[in-house]
Symmetry: C2
Subunit: 251 residues, 2 copies
């Protein structure tokens, strides 16, 4: 029995991660979070992706977290200017202002609570043997393109996996290892594009832009990295192709 929770933002990386978990034979549940304002463009993408991949999907309003992790350009753009037109080298130097305090930790803990509930239900209600359960959390963290984020580094994931064992009943009583998997952690954007394409992940429905309009801005860090990845892979971005086709239809 393989059960996997995927943190699905609706972007290129998390969509590829979801397709990867599915390809390994996991029963995949996806979690998508938003901060309570408008449902962003990304959420629409996540819904579409989950539907195409046939995943169970939960969409969560985590506005309380926004209030807690308030020191960030992502959750409170009014406090910061989101950088534009930076080179990849400029993105690398420091912890970016788009770092949200404890965000990945928070998302993983939400996913872990969901996963542990599913695991305990299977053991204590359905009578499954704990040894037969493989429980995983999949997150699209990446150390190469996002080296500045402390919670994207391998040492963070090592620590969180150690924590999972002592923090949970599943781990401490039933010896079910609830591990966090980071299949993209050492892949660059080109390799992620290649993997997603190979797995036939629905990349044409993904959304990466920080700005979140009808059409990607093409200038924020996220758009620039995405474009670079597709260019290096020698693959046309299927999202842009789809938007072009749509524009042609409308004209």
């Amino acid at each position: 029995m393989k059960i996997g929770i995927v943190l699905l933002s609706g972007g290129l990386d998390s969509t590829t991660t979801a397709a990867y978990a599915k390809s390994l034979g996991y029963e995949v549940h996806a979690i998508t979070v938003h901060y309570g304002q408008k449902l962003s463009r990304e959420i629409k993408s996540a819904k579409k992706v989950a539907k195409i991949l046939g995943l169970k999907h939960k969409i969560l309003d985590i506005s309380p977290f926004k209030e807690m992790g308030w020191y960030s350009a992502l959750t409170h753009p009014e406090l910061f200017a989101v950088p534009k037109d930076r080179s990849v080298e400029e993105m690398m130097g420091d912890v970016p202002i788009t770092y949200v305090p404890l965000r990945n930790t928070f998302l993983i803990v939400l996913a872990a609570a969901y996963l542990e509930s599913e695991v305990l239900h299977r053991i204590e209600r359905l009578g499954m043997d704990p040894e037969e359960i493989e429980a995983r959390i999949f997150i699209a963290a990446n150390v190469l393109d996002y080296s500045g984020y402390p919670d994207c580094r391998p040492e963070f994931y090592q620590k969180i996996n150690e924590l999972m064992r002592v923090a949970t009943k599943a781990g401490s009583k039933y010896n079910v290892e609830m591990r966090v998997e980071t299949p993209l952690i050492y892949r660059n954007k080109r390799e992620i594009v290649e993997l997603g394409t190979e797995l036939e992940a629905p990349l044409e429905w993904t959304w990466s832009c920080y700005e979140g309009d009808e059409v990607p801005c093409g200038k924020c860090d996220s758009c620039l990295l995405r474009a670079k990845g597709f260019k290096e892979a020698g693959i046309r971005d299927p999202l842009l192709e789809r938007l072009k086709r749509r524009a042609n239809c409308e004209n």
Copy 2:
């Protein structure tokens, strides 16, 4: 500059912990969470306690978490019977059904996001020297009376403190140690009652009962442990005294 976030449920233990953090000279911010249904009796207590102690206080609706950590008698009583009239020995044996998957981890991560935001603001906006900042999270975890909960054990807090260092910008870039403090971890209920009384914590406004009515049920694990603590300390429970006075006034 000493800043402390206290997880304040409004119960005896967390109120004592808040009074303790204050007595150490911390600027204390309290966080109280609820699961989105009715504002429980505990929340009213937390408000009153925070007001009396002069704490900054945030009350958060964490219903999304309830949906995630659904396998528990605390968040979903309809799935379980909350045990009554158990002896202290019976409470000890196993992980209790009131265990909520990853709850303490979740609460600590919320507190940590808030704390890190405050720390980064002080360093990056106000120009404070990171070395002058002492940042702590206070939680009323206790290993003696709650030995069954994996996230009440010292090894859990050791791991979470290791995680804090690698998970945060405050820890990894500025070397600010955001440690979780568990001042009650090895104290039994008698000692907690004694400490709270000594610190003049407003124990008469605290609430411990799992059932949450106008008057404590006196039968749930939490009521029984509280009564035992006061009895062993040779102190009358000021909450019961207050309720008695109120009842006398009303008659």
